[in-house]
Amino acid sequence: MIRTSGKYFDGISSRPQDIEIILDETNAGLRFGILSEHSDFWAIADISFEHIGNSLEIRNRHHSLALLKVNDEVFATAFIAFLKANGQLTWYHHILQLGIKAYISIAVLILGFIVAGYLFIIPLVAEKAVMLIPQHYDISMGHTFYKQYVNDNKVDSAKSEALNLFANQLQLNNSIKLHFTVIDSPTVNAFSLPDGNIIVFTGLIHLMNDYDELAGLIGHEVSHVNNRHSMKMLCRNLSGYLFISAVLSDVNGIMAIIGDNVHNLQSLSYSRQFERQADEQGTQLMVLNGINPKGMTDLFTRLKSSETVVIPGFISSHPITTDRIVDINRLIQRTPHKFHKNSKLEELFRHVKK
């Protein structure tokens, strides 16, 4: 039987009453009272406690406001050990006794799960989600953007027509109708919209020397459309963003900002992944059409040397790196291919370039 002195608040007034408390192990409870009259008894089954710092506060669920207070570490240790031996500690008390090392491990573990979820599960789920989204969403989304874009920019209709005829000569494995538009602008760029609209700037066309380079560009952009890269990107970005904000926003604002930036970097790497896929499939489309696949690397080498202006889209977020060209060359070597001069395409290319 361990005894100690403490304070008792009766839940009626704030007056502290000095008491003596006895841990009664035989009757499984606490006996306490003023001086030596230990008239009150709390059974351990009714007891809840909080142990903060060196203060032990004990309550009884039958008198929720009455409170026993003890500042005696020896007593507190014995009391908690007794509760533990009698199976009166809740799972939460057990967790709280784990200590800092365990907490840090838990923190690292959660972080690991989050990172794994973000890197592997989110892209997978997003990609599956894209399969569920009907393609007419892609079409109406792209269409809205296209109308707006064409309105704000100068379309070269003669060149656009020639470019469409050029593309019509090629077998492009497309599932939706393709439509090409040439915009009169010195910008060295091109991009594709999810509805099959592909926009090419005259700045890029002027840089090309041969029709196989144009075929390379078309192959690349068409691959984006065929693989629904825009929609995949959108789904990945959106789900990644939701995931990050759901996990971090409750922690604090600064973490959310850090998370956002990490996410931007990550989405840039998604887009690189898509670019590589388009390079690869674009090259394969050239082979399929009997066009010299070297046109793709020629185009990239030319773009690389002319890379002076910073521009978004086709180039800047995914610069023409040497390894991108090396990869295409490797693919060409691997792929058996035959090509022949195509005078029809050559003729149309002249019209596009004129």
Partner: protein
């Protein structure tokens, strides 16, 4: 008990929570919330409050938060239903192609929810707080607050927000003047005009000094809140005074920023305990009240809906 002592006493307000202990609670909360896909949130919130209240002491006796995860979970579900209905209405009218009506109703509902949520939150949180076994309580009237709130919002809108300062003081006054701890009553006497001038000065000087003055502004705001708060019981009283300095605010804010950034957020627990310690140790209590003679006056109350609604609206309104 006879009380003829007239000289002023000092009361000690202190915070004993250690970052390490709080870190354990935060991490366990985080883990369980993630594992349960968010459903642990109400329990996490209760644990959190239990720690923070339990670590704060007046004259070496700790405060206790009696709220439970179960109560908060019920409140959480009710709050979800209320917000579900509001958003449901919004999307229904959007679907019916009446966007103007949808928006008006939506804003009206959010504004109408605010006083109800604040009232509920005060009612719940204070009734679940005790010190030395004496329950706190909030005795404000919901309909009265509701009507006043709409009046204040209306004035704030037509004065392009200037009335906001008056609104804030009136709201704080209404709330605090209805808070009690047993038979001790709280009293707040901040005025809109003084508060407005304080903010105007703070804003302009912060602008001119490129934000450097903002630490003095924080100091003034904190002092304005604390200095106007007092406790009364049977003619005895306790006055509060802030002893926080601008330098203190600078240290706590910049320190927390660095801690959180350099620990990639894991130092959050330390940032909170530092902040609590800063707030609590900068409030000086002085008066002639006998803390041993407070009597129990409040009933039990266990509806946490308001508390969860303020949580969803992202307003942390308590104290």
């Amino acid at each position: 008990m006879e009380n003829e002592i007239t000289e002023l006493k000092n009361y000690k307000l202190s915070f004993h929570g250690k970052g390490k202990a709080y870190f354990g609670i935060v991490i366990v909360n985080w883990l369980l919330t993630v594992i349960t896909l968010g459903f642990y949130y109400p329990w996490a919130k209760a644990r959190n409050l239990q720690f923070l209240y339990g670590s704060t002491a007046l004259d070496n006796d700790r405060f206790t938060f009696h709220g439970t995860g179960k109560e908060m979970f019920i409140g959480f579900i009710k709050a979800i239903i209320i917000f579900g209905v509001i958003f449901g209405m919004f999307f229904l009218f959007m679907y019916l192609e009446m966007p103007a009506l949808a928006l008006i109703l939506f804003y009206f509902a959010i504004i109408a929810i605010l006083p109800v949520a604040i009232h509920g939150s005060y009612r719940y949180r204070f009734s679940r707080t005790s010190w030395r076994g004496i329950r706190f309580g909030y005795r404000g009237d919901r309909s009265e607050l509701f009507v006043s709130f709409f009046k204040w919002i209306f004035f704030s809108i037509i004065t392009l927000g200037i009335y906001g300062c008056w609104m804030e003081m009136k709201l704080r006054g209404y709330l605090m003047n209805h808070v009690r701890a047993g038979n001790v009553e709280f009293n707040y006497r901040g005025k809109g005009s003084e508060y407005f001038i304080l903010n105007l000065k703070g804003y302009l000087l912060s602008l001119i000094t490129l934000g450097i003055y903002s630490f003095w502004w924080y100091k003034d705001l904190f002092a304005y809140y604390v200095d106007n708060l007092s406790l009364q019981k049977e003619g005895q009283q306790i006055n509060m005074k802030s002893i926080a300095t601008a330098g203190g605010f600078f240290k706590i804010i910049m320190g927390n920023l660095l801690i959180v950034i350099f620990t990639l957020g894991f130092g959050y627990a330390w940032a909170v305990t530092r902040t609590m310690n800063f707030i609590v140790s900068n409030i000086k209590l002085e008066g002639d009240m006998d803390l041993n003679t407070i009597l129990q006056t409040e009933d039990d109350y266990n509806d946490a809906t308001g508390d969860d609604m303020t949580g969803f609206l992202d307003i942390n309104f308590i104290m």
